[in-house]
């Protein structure tokens, strides 16, 4: 219950921060929006966006619109309803982020366990080098290279936009690279730490096979830090989605917000940011629960 309260508090803080941030922009948004501003047009836009009212009133109006009518206003560039645009782009981002998350968790865990199992050999070196490279390569470049190879040269996969599963393969793999490398490093360290403990020696002593030791005992312990990481990972995935979606012309929130920032489309920026941050916070909330379920020490 206390955590639920702090989640709601954080969401409110986020809404205030997002609201204020956009108002910090130097220059009059109304003036920026018009190609050839006349005093009447400026006054009209200011009235429409309620820019002529004091800040707290503006915030209250915005919040009333968001929670009362579920409306984020209209894009000042395209004139389209921001809520509808978000509803249209949101599923695409979730599809991409979930696919990438699944991929990153499975590939990362596998690579981490593989490295830990062969600790100190060339296989371990290969695994850790791979994960280090994964952390160092810019995602958007990887996306460009993948497109070059698989779409233009080999013609195996479509080069962008959303569609059936073949459209999803490249963006998901590219977006998953950094989180997978992260998971691999963390799970390798976790498995190595567990393998040195007494209960593993006991399991071995009572005759458990190396396989059983690894997958029944060590994996379980390695899962705890990996699950804790999911929240951070999810935040990263949504951020990385901005770049990945731009490269692959994926019609998600990430590309939407990147376009909105370039066009200084404030209602769109506010709406998209609020949705993204709320998603990350909710995810952290869920992860907290999972963490408590997995770690008996934390139960009270």
């Amino acid at each position: 219950m206390r955590r639920l309260a702090s989640l709601i508090g954080a969401l409110f803080a986020a809404s205030i921060a997002i609201f204020l941030l956009v108002r910090l922009v130097p220059g009059d948004p109304a003036r920026l929006l018009l190609k050839n501003p006349t005093p009447e047009k400026i006054a009209e836009i200011r009235a429409r966006l309620a820019l002529d009212r004091p800040l707290p009133v503006q915030y209250a109006l915005w919040l009333k619109n968001v929670f009362g009518r579920g409306s984020f206003g209209e894009s000042v560039v395209t004139g389209r309803d921001v809520k509808e645009e978000l509803a249209r782009t949101w599923p695409a981002t979730m599809e991409l982020a979930c696919a990438a998350m699944l991929l990153a968790s499975v590939a990362g865990l596998w690579l981490g366990i593989f490295s830990a199992r062969h600790a100190g050999t060339w296989r371990d070196t290969l695994g850790t080098t791979l994960s280090l490279l994964g952390l160092s390569v810019p995602v958007f470049w990887l996306g460009l290279l993948a497109m070059l190879l698989f779409s233009l040269e080999l013609g195996w996969l479509p080069a962008g936009e959303r569609g059936d599963w073949r459209h999803l393969v490249m963006p998901a793999c590219v977006l998953a690279t950094i989180p997978a490398a992260f998971v691999a490093r963390i799970s390798r360290a976790a498995v190595l730490a567990v393998l040195g403990q007494d209960f593993i020696r006991t399991a071995r002593a009572k005759g458990a096979s190396e396989r059983a030791v690894l997958y029944r005992h060590a994996l379980r312990a390695a899962l705890v830090p990996v699950v804790t990481m999911i929240g951070v990972e999810f935040a990263y995935l949504l951020g990385g989605a901005v770049l990945t979606e731009t490269v692959f012309a994926w019609p998600g929130i990430g590309r939407y917000i990147a376009t909105a920032v370039l066009a200084r489309d404030y209602p769109a920026i506010q709406g998209a940011l609020l949705v993204l941050v709320a998603m990350v916070m909710l995810m952290n909330f869920v992860v907290d629960f999972l963490h408590h379920a997995l770690e008996p020490k934390l139960r009270t």
Partner: protein, 267 residues
């Protein structure tokens, strides 16, 4: 094991040295200034003996721009890291030493900021500022600050519980003296590792923001910006997209190797 850790650190330093030399000697090695366009007739030419990495769509030698890009990239990364480490160590140390309400406020704000994906923080910070390399440095620095605060605060908390702090306290040292003279040196290796990590992250993030078009004028010789510009010629001249990406990955890898090496030697 020890050997392989040091070899990682050495490899990182060697990789980084190449980037630094490229940045320092750019005007000496390069064929022309970073924004001049002397080879318009050879636009989109492939790699050759004269142009090692080809010529871009605007008639500029790509190798030259990569060299100048090292200056821009290292400059942004250094600026961002100065902000992140300077502010982060200060806030983390203050929170970890003072405790009380200040600690509560700082921890909450940090937790709150960590819920924002860092590239989004940078993106939003750039909406507020005029797009330019200096703004990118500030945006990236602010976006990396929360992570540094969290690590330094945690280190101060665990150090403060140790016996040597108690001993210093018993000998009559004040809490600020202990924080600076006793605890800070013990956090030094963590801070160095964090610095290298932040530098690498800043390179990656700045390149991403530039790729989205938020660095300002398109003729700035910045690696992420080059990828953005050359993307349009992607189908005709794919080699133009290879070099800037390798340059980014090279630099980030150097910082990550150094960070790992520093962290390894701490234990």
């Amino acid at each position: 094991m020890r050997w392989s850790r040091n070899s990682g650190l050495n490899a990182g330093i060697a990789l980084l040295a190449v980037v630094i030399v490229a940045a320092l000697l750019a005007p000496v090695i390069a064929k022309h200034g970073p924004t001049e366009q002397p080879y318009r007739a050879e636009a989109l030419a492939g790699p050759s003996a004269k142009h090692w990495l080809g010529v871009d769509g605007a008639g500029r030698d790509v190798f030259t721009r990569i060299l100048y890009g090292a200056r821009v990239t290292l400059g942004i990364a250094l600026g961002a890291t100065l902000i992140a480490i300077g502010g982060g160590v200060l806030l983390g140390a203050l929170a970890g030493t003072m405790r009380g309400w200040f600690d509560v406020v700082v921890s909450h704000v940090v937790d709150f900021l960590l819920a924002f994906p860092s590239i989004l923080l940078g993106l939003v910070a750039l909406t507020v500022m005029r797009p330019a390399p200096a703004s990118v440095a500030i945006a990236v620095g602010v976006a990396s600050l929360p992570t540094v605060v969290r690590h330094v605060r945690a280190a101060y908390l665990s150090e403060n519980a140790k016996q040597y702090v108690l001993a210093a306290h018993a000998m009559g040292a004040g809490r600020w003296r202990i924080a600076v003279v006793e605890v800070l040196p013990n956090c030094a290796s963590l801070i160095f590792a964090l610095t290298a990590l932040t530098l690498g992250g800043a390179v990656l993030e700045a390149a991403g923001l530039a790729f989205l078009g938020l660095t300002g004028q398109p003729d700035v010789a910045e690696w992420g910006m080059m990828l953005r510009e050359e993307r349009s010629a992607f189908r005709i001249a794919p080699w133009l997209c290879i070099a800037p990406g390798i340059a980014i990955a090279w630099t980030v890898l150097a910082f990550n190797l150094i960070s790992d090496g520093l962290r390894g030697s701490r234990r």
